[in-house]
């Protein structure tokens, strides 16, 4: 079996030879630390991206098989994006930056965290209509100017990428990235302003949601119409935190459930049976909404302080629900004994079927290179 066929066998509850060793990439600071320690070169640290040639080389060095986020991406964000620029250099070494989404954030060298959001260009209908809406129209250029991660290399889709995609080599399951329906709106507005908008101007929020989901639908449709086969589709939302969802599940079900259903229905009509979704935090109250609307792989199952696991979800929702993730990434900052304990914790979860362990987010700066190698080595022995 190759990584693609063993992954599909697990997701289909069929027999397989071994568990593929799947990861979720690394924070930049982690790669920089590993470069400073001599494990990789600074050029590798700078040039690494999920699924590119450097990622494949790092997989070889560490023992991974592939990155779950190694999927065909197309341009489903703002087009054109806003120009990233420094608005202010501050005396404390921090910088006020307007990012590609039109959000002013504070960033600081050496501070590894989500940046502080200071302001958002998108405030209401006026900005939506004058500077955002037209950036969300679907054109074929979004597909042609997308990029493909094939054979471990970034490939421009309009430079032979289509042909390359057809030469899929089995090194990983073939994923199609679909973007997010509400996560991007949250990015543009900020959580607080999005919450206010739903109360103050619900029709505008609905229009934003409709515009984003139509863009995703048209983009996915256009990619699928090329005839390229995909094994799974992958969404991103990130709308939960440690205590639950950042949105009201009733609102989410009413407004976004049908939008998910329409896109996953389209995917299914092209033979894409598996749909994974990346959402950190405690997702329990949104999970049934996704599952009812065609999302059947939860990723990355952030263990967190709330001890998330595939097990209670499987008991509640049955085998329709699969999972990729659920391995506590913080263990990589501890020792071999902690890794052994974590692998033992994963053993009964793997036995459930339909589940592939993967670190529950990008590896943080305290992850030790030799611990990652040890984990991969042990996982091969235990689940080989």
């Amino acid at each position: 079996m190759n990584n693609r066929t063993r992954t599909l066998a697990i997701l289909n509850y069929e027999t397989y030879d071994r568990i593929p060793l799947v990861h979720f990439g690394y924070w930049h600071a982690t790669k920089d630390k590993w470069a400073a320690e001599g494990h990789i070169t600074p050029e590798q640290a700078q040039g690494h991206a999920d699924g590119n040639a450097i990622d494949v080389e790092m997989n070889r060095l560490l023992g991974w098989d592939f990155c779950w986020k190694c999927a065909f991406s197309w341009n489903n964000r703002l087009e054109p994006m806003f120009e990233r620029r420094i608005l202010e250099e501050r005396p404390d070494g921090s910088r006020l930056i307007m990012n590609e989404d039109g959000v002013s954030v504070i960033e600081k060298t050496g501070v590894f965290s989500i940046p502080t959001e200071v302001d958002h260009l998108l405030k209401g209908r006026q900005e939506w209509e004058s500077i955002y809406k037209h950036r969300l129209k679907f054109t074929l250029g979004r597909i042609q100017r997308g990029w493909a991660k094939v054979d471990g290399q970034d490939r421009q889709f309009d430079q032979g990428g289509r042909e390359l995609l057809l030469k899929q080599d089995g090194s990983h399951p073939y994923g199609l990235y679909c973007g997010g329906l509400i996560g991007v709106i949250r990015d543009w507005l900020g959580l607080v302003n999005m919450s206010y908008l739903i109360v103050d101007d619900e029709p505008l929020f609905d229009e934003m949601a409709e515009t984003v989901s139509e863009l995703i639908f048209q983009g996915v449709k256009s990619v699928l119409e090329t005839g390229i086969h995909f094994d799974f589709a992958h969404f991103w939302e990130d709308v939960c935190y440690k205590a639950g969802p950042l949105v009201n599940p009733r609102m989410f079900a009413a407004k976004f459930g049908p939008k998910y259903r329409r896109i996953t229905g389209l995917l299914k009509s092209y033979g894409v049976e598996f749909v994974s979704l990346d959402c950190d935090g405690k997702i329990d109250s949104l999970l049934p909404i996704w599952l009812e609307n065609g999302v059947n792989i939860m990723f990355p199952i952030e263990v967190g302080t709330w001890q998330a696991s595939i097990q209670p979800w499987r008991e509640k929702y049955g085998r329709a629900l699969r999972g990729v993730g659920g391995m506590n990434k913080h263990i990589f900052g501890f020792d071999y004994a902690a890794i052994d304990t974590e692998i033992e914790r994963l053993r009964p979860l793997v036995a459930l079927g339909g589940y592939i362990p993967c670190p529950d987010h990008r590896l943080p700066i305290d992850a030790r290179w030799e611990n990652v190698q040890y984990y991969c080595e042990c996982m091969r022995k235990v689940f080989g």
Partner: protein, 215 residues
């Protein structure tokens, strides 16, 4: 309860900030006691918001719009409370610890604490231990609230508590901590007085500190 206080209460629950602003003005013009407006109309409504959040009826967005309505009404009421020399429920200095720029959780806690009648000293994000110490030394602070998003920045909570001890001000205040990686075990381990999993329960924790210290 006076009908207009009931309307303020309901306006906060519904997140109708403009309506709350108008009703608070109307209540003041009608000669109602500012403290009654605050306690019966506004703080009581936010307490109900907290209950609804904890029971799973309300979620973060509802909490945010209610907090905005509370803050809008409070802006109208504040000069009258000051005039009548009405004290806040307590003063909380709050910030995200050094090395961490994340502030969404901190801001949610601020909104809910203000909704419960606390005075807030927001020290911002990426706050060094000495800045927290200086805030305590400036006086009047009852509670210090520390936030961290990452496991790599949470050790700076301990560094801050150690700095408070070194400066001899730790015993003057209660310390509460919160954020994605924080557990009760960790709070105990570093010598904090408590932690809460969300903004609503952070209010309950802050209230419990002050109730205990005033007994």
């Amino acid at each position: 309860m006076e009908p207009i206080l009931q309307e303020i209460y309901q306006g906060i629950l519904d997140g109708q900030h403009r309506e709350v602003e108008a009703k608070v003005q109307a209540a003041l013009q009608a000669g109602l006691n500012p403290k009654s407006i605050l306690d019966e109309g506004m703080i009581a409504a936010m307490a109900e918001v907290g209950q609804l959040f904890e029971s799973g009826e309300f979620y973060v967005p509802e909490m945010l719009v209610s907090a905005r309505a509370m803050q809008t009404g409070l802006a109208v009421l504040k000069p009258h409370l000051k005039e009548a020399n009405i004290q806040s429920a307590g003063k909380v200095a709050i910030g995200t610890v050094k090395g961490d720029l994340h502030d969404i959780g901190k801001n949610l806690v601020i909104m809910m604490l203000e909704g419960a009648g606390f005075e807030i000293l927001d020290l911002g994000a990426d706050v060094a231990p000495e800045k927290f110490v200086a805030a305590i030394q400036s006086g009047g602070v009852d509670i210090l609230a520390l936030s961290a998003l990452l496991t790599t920045t949470m050790p700076n909570m301990k560094a801050t508590i150690d700095a408070l001890k070194e400066a001899g001000v730790r015993e003057h205040i209660k310390v509460m901590i919160g954020g994605a990686p924080i557990t009760e075990d960790y709070a105990r381990q570093i010598g904090a007085d408590g932690t809460a999993p969300d903004a609503s329960r952070a209010v309950a924790l802050a209230k419990s500190f002050l109730t205990a210290s005033r007994c």
